[in-house]
């Protein structure tokens, strides 16, 4: 009963009756909100005519690059023209526009800059899918949850990784997780060049021994790395990085060695034309000459020579576990198994 009285009281009010008679949508409903993405706005003067907007546009008739004609004062400019009868207001053109400031403005999305998310760490940890045995020890040991399993593969989320190295400690397979130094790339390059060149020179000194190697025999020697480490420390005084770099080189490097035995040469000149870089030359007085600096070690001369002048060997390396100053590189050299043509 009381509610009925309340209703009567409510309906009897003048303001209610006025509202009821003149019911209309409020003006703000008809207004477009500020986030509304309207047709792109073109600012001709910034356009570089790259055509990215036309390539990104999903509607076939929406955007066209036009060029205004030259006048006596200045050259014509190229700029995009939006056909509002075709444009779907997706804003892709503004997003791909590479100029700064943007030639095309459409909505707000393209003005958002992604935040810088890379943590300031020296190392980046990468999973080697080929070596990984999916034991998930890294997943269990990761403290920040950066390791996850996607499609039966272990994946490291670089934005979460704090480079603590816990996963490598727990990984049972050597090399399945790789810690790559992402800093000091130039210095790393220098160290790599230094190590490779030094090893090559060292092997070259033993050429006579290598030449007289019996087939199926293996040539071995140890190379102490203390000198190398001294030089590397001059490049960058970071023992961890030096050890890491040298270890990676020696694990991966497969050096090709070409030996040259002038005594066996009969000056048949078969190899001269075969050499792809012209490292082998013939002179009437001097006979056949090989320029070792030009040589690519492609082994074509070895495969061509019927007299065994050129020898082709493969060297492999292994760094011992000892500390940097006492460390030794085991060098193993054996004749290549490549067949000789002819």
């Amino acid at each position: 009963m009381s509610s009925v009285i309340w209703y009567i009281y409510e309906f009897a009010r003048k303001s209610w009756a006025e509202k009821f008679v003149a019911a209309r949508s409020e003006q703000e409903i008809m207004e477009t909100p500020s986030r509304w993405r309207n047709f792109p706005e073109v600012r001709k003067e910034y356009c570089i005519a790259c055509g990215a907007c036309t390539a990104a546009c999903p509607a076939p008739m929406a955007i066209k690059l036009v060029r205004s004609s030259d006048t006596s004062e200045e050259e014509g400019i190229t700029y995009p023209v939006i056909n509002t009868r075709g444009c779907i207001r997706c804003g892709f053109c503004a997003e791909v526009c590479p100029t700064d400031p943007k030639t095309l403005l459409c909505g707000e999305n393209h003005l958002i800059r992604e935040k810088f998310t890379i943590l300031p760490v020296e190392k980046m940890y990468v999973m080697d899918e080929y070596l990984c045995i999916r034991c998930k020890k890294c997943l269990k040991s990761c403290k920040v949850g950066a390791v996850s399993e996607v499609d039966n593969r272990m994946v490291i989320d670089q934005s979460k990784c704090i480079a603590c190295g816990e996963c490598i400690k727990n990984c049972p397979v050597k090399g399945a997780i790789k810690g790559v130094f992402i800093s000091n790339v130039e210095e790393q390059k220098e160290i790599i060049n230094l190590v490779v060149n030094t090893l090559e020179k060292r092997i070259d000194e033993d050429q006579d021994k290598i030449k007289n190697l019996a087939p199926e025999e293996i040539f071995k020697f140890d190379y102490p790395i203390d000198e190398l480490v001294e030089k590397a420390r001059e490049i960058i005084p970071n023992d961890e990085l030096i050890r890491d770099t040298i270890e990676k080189i020696t694990d991966r490097l497969k050096m090709r060695i070409i030996t040259w035995d002038d005594e066996k040469c009969k000056s048949c000149r078969l190899c001269v034309d075969e050499c792809p870089v012209g490292a082998i030359t013939y002179d009437k007085d001097k006979g056949i000459e090989r320029n070792a600096n030009k040589c690519l070690k492609c082994s074509i001369c070895y495969q061509t020579c019927p007299f065994g002048v050129a020898g082709f060997y493969v060297a492999r390396f292994l760094l011992t576990e000892a500390s940097l100053d006492e460390g030794v590189i085991h060098v193993t050299l054996k004749p290549s198994q490549l067949p000789i043509r002819s």
Binding site: W36, A59, P60
Partner: protein, 149 residues
Amino acid sequence: MLDALKDVIRKSSIHVCLINTGGCNGCDIEVVALLSPRYDLEQYGIYVHNNPREADVILVAGAVTEQWREKLQRIYAKVPEPKIVVAIGNCPLSGDVFNQEGSSVYAPVSDYIPVDAEVSGCPPRPSEILAAILSIGPNAIAARGRQKL
């Protein structure tokens, strides 16, 4: 006297028929939004019927597919005079994203029936559709009604 009365009624009561000639349905949804309490189309005296025989305004959406070409003209013929055609969205204007090379859409719609108003956008805002209907609808219908056809 009778004409004046007809004018008043035509201005305050517009019947709309929505035709989708093969679009993505997005524009239809915007029209449905117009019917909702938020925009409340009927406060302007506009009623949506999907019956061309009692319509004053035809809203055409869609890029005119093969099957729609003749049917569209038949529907247009069924609408009593005076009639207004409003093309909603980009599809009836240019074919929009459907008008790719090798596709079988027959946009623009003005190749088949005369179009009085165009609302571009993909889809246009409900308020834009409403503004287009209101800007052309009442007066044009009234004006056409006075013509001896």
